[in-house]
Amino acid sequence: MADALTAEILRNALCVAAEEASIVVVRSAYSTFIVEGADAAAAILDARGRLVAHSLSTALIQCASLRSALPFVRRAYPEMRPGDVFVLNDVYQGGIHANDLLVFRPVFVGGEPAYFTGTLIHVADLSGLSAGGMASDATDVYLEGLQLPPVRIATADGPVDDLVRVLAANSRTPDKLVGDLRALIAGANVAARRLEEIIAGSTPSGLAAGIEDYLADTERRMREGLAAVPAGTHRGEYALDDGHTVRVAVVSDGAGTLTVDFDGTDEQVPLPVNAGFSQTHGGVMYAVRCFVDPTLPMNEGCFAPVEVRMPRGTLVHCTPPFPGGGRFGTVAAAEEAILSAVTGALEHGGVAASGILQAFSLSGARRPWLHMSFDLGGSGAREDHDGADATGALFGGGRNIIPQAEPIEARLPVRVEEVSLIPGSGGAGRHRGGRGTRTVILMLEDARVDTRGDRLLRPPPGAAGGGPGRAGGYYRRRADGILEPLGTKATRQPLAAGEALVVETSGGGGYGRPQ
């Protein structure tokens, strides 16, 4: 009992350390999107790059990014000193895109880095074609923003000011950028401090043994769950709005090991539609986790039994200089393809597709202000229930990450006129798809808007005879009230004071023929 208790306290202490780091980042960051809504990601990894614990409500793709990037940091800096902190955003080295900054800090045991704490948020602005980093016409990675390979951003003496000045000089909102960076470092430092306390309390070897047990236990339970996926090769595919298709083969040995192979997926494109490999890997883990005990902790034990093959140069694994910023459409397609492959192999097959996260950013035309946010589509219906309305289908987040109207208006020159569910937007069926939302934001100053959505031209299809969800879209409401469509991947479109942005998210597909 005592040993089991000690082990459990240790596991929870690791998770709490990651959670505390994410809270510190949110509370000390400056981007409206982060401080009023989205969670920050934080993780604890070991020297071998294994994921030990991560913050609770983090989107899995962000956690996967921290896990994927750490080996590149270690390769770039074979020698590290206590107090060092590193930053990167390189999509080809595990990052996501320019605006998502990853920060790592080593924790030393016996003079060597034994663990790493990592934090990640979407920072306000880091150059690129559009403020906020959402330019959908970025034909290569350089147009997405300033590229950062792993570099040292702080030492025991404090921030590396030379580098901080370069970063600030490349941001349209330098104060917010520096504040966000400081918050990321503070989060990594707090988690490192907690980890040092844990090491002091349980001895280095006690912690190492505790972690081995934890990961092994998770892996055993993960394999038990995956063993329920019938042996064989199960195929699925999903097409993006532009027709590009993600194809997957899920190979199960029926004993708890999976291979997820994206061979046959379309080639990468010179637009921010592709996904960096870390993002696809995160999407794979999300989809696979839907078939095992949902109470499993998220750590290396979940990754270990799943081999992921992502052919280089395809939509799911972009290579230089192809951009990766608009990855969530592709990641969601990969997830949908896996869900359909696996559910197709199960006795009660079939799954309707979901509306996904639809991002947008608003920025000042005459002075620098920025509002980056998103709305959520309706979930697909399943065999025995309706889809959930406007929730974080396919990445597991909830609406708590979307800022509310009051704090947005208190911070920015906009007025939120409406946030409502769209009646009847869920696909028809024996069970209906979840509904999408309509958000109307009035400009009080001249502004520009970037949009980034998918499943708008090809709305989420139903399953087993169910109808598709209603297609969402982005619109400009002119001063005279007339709605004009904006592109689903519009860039820097003007919105004059008195005009409004209308964001409608797609409903989820229905399941079964309507009765």
Binding site: A388, T391, E409, V419
Partner: protein
């Protein structure tokens, strides 16, 4: 001893639980009289009155001499959890009527990967949700006047629904409540008399429309039930001659005047459990123990709360129906109520929980035999076995009973035989032992949530046993966690009610107040903001004093401000020195903020900061500071066969009253008192202090059994 109580500090405290109603009277000298009666769920005031009459008679106190009446009730919690509040209509700004359906839930843990995720029903259905044309800006400017014709139509539609309360939350009402107040007046004029209309600016005037809305509508939902209950209670007390004001425990550990408790019912959600944690903190402080786990086990539920460094944890957001924590505390998982509450975890399992066999597996709870019919051994018609029945069969309880009636071992044995032992194919004693162990494991879950789940090692803490069933289970529970110290206060069986005796009358009031610190501290800056801040505090203090209906000279008012860096969202609450609001006092608060920020985040920052909230807490200290004592008296000593570690053993049975201060109690033994029975397992020993508080410690390495 003086036969009557003439001391104005003569206080009656009452705690209505799911099974028992505890009543405690103190005359201010520390002398305590106690009664435990069965709760009467149909009308809880009935059982309560019975207990009050009992203590008055026993203490020989005239009803008119009661100077203070404090009350803890689980009414608000039950109303919310069982969804038995009144039908409510919700009105918000046009364009935002999906607010409640959309919610702001986080998907955590099991929900994240659930393809079958079903969103919860909104707390008010769309059919009862209305939008009115109006708009106020973030700075309080009226952008669009309230459309009074539309408001009138809304009133008629609400009247047609026949709801019993209305909640209003309009955008930015926290900075300008004019539309909410006007709309409320219009609605009141067109709704049947007595239908309360609750405005968000009155309940929780802070930014964040969703949380403000849910807090308001929960207040509307519970308020009428609470109001009619407290009215009935007040009437019945006056009926027996008690004219003392009724004070109701609020969730953060203070007490509210009854009228206020009805108007701000959401503040009483953790009424009873909070009393237990406060009592534990006070008992621990007396013994110089600052790190405590309060363990409060009654008939229906058990609660665990954490006290660190002498202070109970307080949260500022309670999640109704929340996931991932037994008290529903995980942010973003339920319907948020933005009121301060003592942080604790609760499991729906207590002495009255029914044991049953489900497809070959023994289960305990969540159904409770409650007070009626009660455990089988009460002989009140209950035939189903409960945890109390198991405890009796195992010898942990005295068949002589407590709470004034005898317990029947025969009935307990029969119930366990028929419903547990036979279906499982084991003998009655082993079945009873299994029920006891499972109950301990469930209690463990509550302790787990407040410690292990947060990465806190419980082993350095002292477990404080409160509630009728706690002393029977506390030491075994401590053993599960390797906790080496258990404190059993005097009158532990009515521990929460005892805590209530000493709760201060307290009220917190706050409002959003946004202003840059620079505009408040600089000599050259306009004094408008400083004046406005002083005026905000004056208004809050007037309101708080009116709430307490107290003489300002007796009230301690503390002021604080929310402060953050401009551009950030999370504010720290820092105290503002008393006296006039000056540039100096604000600067002092700002320095404190910088210091706290540095301590919390390791960032030494001096960027522009802003004030976000003005907050006052007004406290009217309770009369007595003394803790109650258990009067030593003639005790009994005997022996009983008790099931310990797989066999029955003859162990000593002592009555608590017979223990002299400093006398050592060594396990295995049982210490009985009128409201509870303390099981001291082998390997534990302790001694009562001069108040009768018993501190048990695990005597490591001194095995009491030769075989251990």
């Amino acid at each position: 001893m003086d036969p009557t109580c003439t001391d104005p500090a003569c206080t009656v405290a009452t705690d209505v639980g799911g099974t028992f109603t505890d009543v405690v009277l103190t005359d201010g000298t520390g002398r305590v009289t106690v009664a435990k009666t069965l709760t009467t769920p149909g009308d809880p005031t009935e059982g309560l009155l019975r207990g009050v009459r009992e203590v008055l008679a026993e203490a020989r106190v005239a009803p008119g001499d009661v100077g203070r009446f404090t009350h803890a009730t689980t009414l608000a919690t039950n109303v919310i959890l069982e969804r038995t509040g009144v039908p409510v209509a919700f009105v918000t700004t046009e364009g935002f009527t999906s607010m409640l359906e959309l919610g702001r839930r986080a998907r955590v843990e099991e929900e994240r990967y659930d393809l079958a995720y079903a969103q919860p029903e909104p707390p008010v259905p769309p059919s009862h949700t209305f939008g009115v044309p109006e708009r106020i800006s973030a700075t309080g400017e009226v952008l669009r006047p309230l459309d009074e014709e539309a408001a009138a139509r809304t009133a008629d539609a609400i009247a047609a629904l026949g709801v019993a309360a209305v909640a209003i939350c309009l955008l930015h009402s926290y900075v300008n409540p004019v539309h909410e107040e006007r709309l409320a007046a219009l609605l009141r004029a067109r709704l049947p008399g007595g239908v309360p209309v609750v405005t968000s600016s009155a309940v929780w005037p802070e930014m964040g429309e969703y949380e403000r809305a849910t807090t308001t509508l929960m207040s509307a939902y519970v308020g009428p039930v609470m109001a009619s209950y407290l009215e009935r209670l007040g009437g019945r007390l006056r009926g027996i001659g008690i004219t003392a004001p009724v004070h109701v425990m609020e969730s953060a550990g203070g007490v509210l005047p009854a009228a206020l408790a009805a108007a701000r019912a959401v503040y009483t959600i953790e009424s009873g459990p909070a009393a237990g944690v406060i009592a534990a903190a006070r008992q621990g402080a007396r013994r110089g123990l600052a790190d405590l786990i309060s363990f409060d086990m009654g008939g229906t539920t058990a609660k665990a709360g954490l006290v660190r460094g002498g202070r109970p944890g307080v949260t500022h957001e309670f999640q109704v129906g929340g996931k991932g924590s037994f008290g529903g505390r995980r942010p973003g998982t339920g319907v948020p109520i933005k009121v301060p509450a003592i942080d604790l975890a609760e499991v729906g399992s207590g002495g009255g929980s029914i044991a049953w066999v489900d497809a070959g597996t023994l289960r305990v709870g969540p159904r409770s035999a409650g007070a009626d019919p009660g455990p089988a051994c009460y002989g009140r018609g209950g035939a189903l076995p409960t945890v109390t029945d198991a405890d009796l069969v195992l010898g942990y309880l005295d068949p002589g009973g407590f709470g004034g009636f005898r317990l029947s071992p025969e009935r307990a044995r029969e119930a366990i035989r028929a419903h547990v032992a036979e279906p499982l194919g084991v003998d009655v004693v082993r079945a009873a032992a299994a029920v006891h162990d499972i109950a301990n494991a469930q209690m463990g879950a509550a302790v787990h949530v407040v410690t292990v789940r947060r990465g806190i090692d419980p082993r350095g803490f002292t477990l404080v046993a409160l509630g009728g069933a706690a002393p029977t289970h506390a030491v075994r529970l401590a053993e599960r966690f390797g906790i080496g110290r258990v404190l059993v206060p005097p009158h532990a069986g009515v521990g929460s009610a005892v805590g209530l005796l000493y709760a201060d009358l307290a009220i917190e009031r706050a409002r959003t107040f946004l202003a840059p610190v620079s505009s408040l501290v600089s000599c050259s800056a306009s004094r408008d903001n400083l004046g406005a801040l002083a005026e905000a505090f004056a208004g809050l203090e007037r309101a708080a004093l009116a709430d307490l209906a107290a003489d300002p000279a007796d009230v301690e008012v503390t002021r604080s401000v929310g402060m953050r860096f401009v551009g950030q969202s999370h504010a720290f609450t820092v105290d503002l020195p008393a006296g006039p609001v000056t540039p100096g006092t604000v600067q002092h608060a700002a320095e404190e903020f910088y210091k706290r920020y540095h301590e919390s985040y390791g960032i030494d920052l001096r960027d522009p900061a802003e004030v976000t909230t003005a907050r006052v807490r007004a406290v009217l200290p309770s009369g007595s500071r003394d803790l109650p004592r258990a009067e030593p008296g003639p005790g009994t000593a005997g022996a009983r066969r008790v099931w310990l570690d797989g066999a029955f053993h003859e162990v000593p049975v002592r009555s608590r009253a017979g223990l002299a201060p400093g006398e050592t109690v060594t396990g295995p033994c049982v210490v009985t008192e009128p409201q509870c029975s303390l099981l001291v397992p082998p390997g534990w020993r302790g001694a009562p202090d001069d108040t009768g508080a018993l501190l048990l410690e695990a005597a490591r390495g001194e095995g009491p059994w030769p075989t251990r």
